[in-house]
């Protein structure tokens, strides 16, 4: 979580100049932040707009309404890397081109998930989409902080297993 920072007022100041980008705000100076400034992420290689696009893609590929943006941010932050830049540049350009072909300004400006999904379906055979999707399988679901949201309890040996902690406690059958 190194680049995901919880910031206060200074970030708010930045956000004052931000342009709306989906549910997220993109500041002009290498930051992307939640509208309420609950968290922010610094990008150094790709643009904030590209990071916002990746996050929206992540939400649309694996939408869980109970999972906050910051978990998706952690899952895609690795694309802010020189090694990934070409993939991201070309991939997002193709994504936006697909959006335009379906009559939208670009992917991020599409209001309904249903319409964004149609755009994603147009590029789902491409390496870019498959890389992002496959990366999310571990990038999102292998975050230990995400597990409790789904009820999963993780490691149990240190607590003595479930033998005294409800391995057979089902009561509704």
């Amino acid at each position: 979580m190194t680049r995901v920072e919880r910031k206060g007022l200074t970030r708010r100041a930045l956000l004052g100049r931000a342009v709306a980008a989906g549910a997220l705000a993109v500041a002009g100076t290498g930051f992307i932040a939640a509208p309420d400034a609950a968290w922010a992420m610094e990008v150094s290689v790709i643009t904030p707009e590209q990071m916002a696009t990746l996050m929206q893609m992540a939400r649309d590929i694996y939408p869980h309404d109970q999972v906050a943006d910051r978990f998706y941010a952690v899952a895609v932050k690795g694309y802010d890397d020189a090694a990934a830049k070409d993939l991201v540049d070309a991939g997002i350009a193709a994504l936006n081109a697909a959006a335009q072909a379906q009559g939208h300004a670009d992917y991020l400006s599409i209001g309904w998930e249903e319409d964004r999904v149609k755009v994603l379906q147009a590029i789902e055979g491409e390496v870019f989409f498959q890389t992002v999707r496959a990366g999310l399988v571990t990038g999102l679901y292998n975050q230990k902080d995400v597990w409790p949201i789904f009820g999963y309890e993780g490691e149990s040996f240190s607590q003595g297993g479930y033998i005294d902690r409800g391995f057979d406690d089902i009561d509704w059958l």
Binding site: H64, L140, F157, G161, Y162, D168
Partner: protein
């Protein structure tokens, strides 16, 4: 005291791989006073080292060296470089395994005679039968401490089992229980009872589940007759000009090549690596690979007809709590062609943690159809199918263009379902979903087979040398002092999880080898 043998000691039995087959064979021979060098490509991990975390454990234990895939199975598309989920470590896949330990049914030793010829299938009868195997199964059950055999109590049912059992009974299934499991229901053989930790697939940190890593291997070493060399990857089996094998070449951790001489060589690297090794050992005398005059090395690859079924309920199940696979319905394991296929299948409970559930629920899937299922992870119950699949000559291991870190051609795994496999899987999907629907599932769905956990048949046993690679002792038809000791010797796969049979065959083979050595025949 742990033995140390010289590289030039040509009186030793060299065993390649230390899993269910090789690990047990090594100990059984050592107990009989036979000197053994066991070479294991992976490292050594014990219960303290195991990790209660699916991906971290996978990174620690799984075989991650390159492999390639082809054929129309979905694994070739979804997991192109990972055809199997198996282990590279001392103890082999017995660290990962879930412990389900059931005997073949009598008729399954004679698949060709029982089912008749099936078009497109390369069916064959085993050269052994149930009566022959009975005492070896009994020894294997004692070794593994299998529950519900020899008076041992069954495991208590966990939440996932209770849902499964209730549904199965409503459907009228009769043979429903918590399984014959190599997991202690009470203290046994210096190992504790299961603590219902729920990470059986990640290595049992209590040692409640049998694994060669902390039973047979150290016991063999304690005799002073067994040396296990870890991080020793065998590259080639060597032979002399009489056609007898003389030793093996292997790479150590640093990549140095060594030559270990041997009186007998046993191949037990699991069903991809064993044929790969025989093929990679081709020479001017054996241009098609060792023990391959039949052209059957690598063919007839079987992986069981599998697939999983998950049910979602309106209330919590918490399937991850407790044993991963202690629950079985055996009613469908019978041979009953009126169902539209030959052979049968078992249904067994199965639970995955959230990270693996996400990876295996519908590989490649995305969008709300996928995520709304995962949203109810806490309310989910799971089971999987283990059915007999048809051996096909074209489902096979060949050498790939791709090379591994040692510069050796890797295994290409080619697999396509036989129509019988498809018919069986569809039947099982229907029955599995009906089980959950019977107890009020609000949604139930089938999921495709994972990368293979059961890998069988690629050096099969046969009565006649032209039909297979080894005889009823696992001894290769072509080379008297070369043995096959793992799941690759399976003639057919039966409906049962394979490991009890692999272990029983290894105990029997050790007895045979020791006897033949003593008689001067080997």
């Amino acid at each position: 005291m742990v033995a140390k043998f010289d590289l030039n000691d040509d009186s030793v039995v060299v065993i390649i791989g230390t899993g269910a087959g090789g690990g047990v064979l090594a100990n059984e021979l050592a107990q009989k006073g036979v000197k053994v060098v066991a070479l294991e490509a992976g490292g050594r991990y014990l219960p303290d080292d195991y990790i209660n975390d699916e991906w971290d454990s996978f990174g620690q234990l799984a075989w991650l060296d390159a492999r390639t895939t082809s054929g129309d199975w979905r694994v070739a598309k979804d997991f192109a470089g990972l055809p199997a989920w198996i282990v590279k470590a001392v103890g082999g896949t017995t660290t990962h395994w879930a412990g389900a330990s059931i005997r073949f049914q009598e008729h399954e030793w004679k698949a060709l005679s029982t089912y008749g010829a099936v078009e497109g299938a390369n069916l064959l009868d085993w050269p052994i039968d149930a009566a022959e195997m009975e005492p070896w199964y009994a020894l294997a059950e004692t070794k593994l401490g299998v529950t519900l055999t020899e008076g041992r109590a069954g495991l208590p049912g966990n939440n996932n089992y209770k849902v499964f059992e209730a549904g199965a009974k409503k459907l009228g299934y009769k043979e429903v229980h918590t399984g014959r499991m190599a997991i202690n229901s009470s203290d046994y053989d210096e190992r504790p009872a299961c603590q219902q930790t729920g990470f059986c697939f990640q290595g049992c940190k209590w040692g409640a589940k049998w694994s060669a890593a902390y039973t047979d291997i150290p016991r063999g070493e304690a005799t002073g007759n067994l040396e296990v060399r870890e991080h020793a990857h065998v590259a080639r089996i060597l032979h002399d000009d009489t056609g007898k094998v003389t030793g093996v070449e292997y790479f150590d951790k640093e990549g140095n090549l060594h030559l270990q001489k041997a009186r007998i060589v046993s191949v037990a690297g699991n069903s991809f690596e064993s044929p790969r090794l025989l093929l990679n050992s081709a020479s001017s005398m054996f241009p098609n690979g060792l023990a391959n005059s039949s052209d059957q090395v690598g063919r007839n690859y079987m992986r069981h007809t599998t697939g999983s079924i998950y049910g979602i309920f309106d209330k919590p199940v918490r399937m991850w709590r407790g044993t991963t696979m202690a629950g079985i319905v055996q009613d469908e394991a019978r041979h009953d062609p009126s169902r539209g296929f030959v052979g049968g299948y078992e249904l067994e409970t199965l639970a995955l943690g959230l990270p693996f559930m996400a990876a295996f629920l519908n590989p490649g899937g995305w969008g709300r159809g996928f995520t709304t299922a995962l949203d109810h992870y806490e309310n989910m119950a799971g089971m999987w199918i283990v059915g007999e699949d048809m051996p096909q000559a074209t489902n096979r291991i060949t050498l790939s263009e791709t090379k591994d870190q040692w510069g050796l051609p890797v295994a290409n795994v080619h697999f396509s379902d036989h129509p019988n496999d498809v018919a069986m899987r569809n039947h099982a999907y229907k029955q599995g979903m009906a089980i959950y629907d019977a107890v009020g599932a609000t949604r139930s769905f089938p999921t495709p087979p994972y990368p293979s956990t059961h890998n069988l048949g690629t050096n099969r046993m046969s009565e006649r040398p032209e039909d297979g690679v080894c005889n009823k002792w696992g001894q290769t038809h072509d080379i008297a002092n070369l043995f096959i000791s793992d799941g690759s010797q399976f003639t057919t796969g039966a409906a049962e999880n394979p490991t009890l049979t692999i272990v029983a065959l290894a105990i029997r083979q050790a007895d045979h080898i020791a006897r033949e050595m003593a008689a001067g025949n080997l």
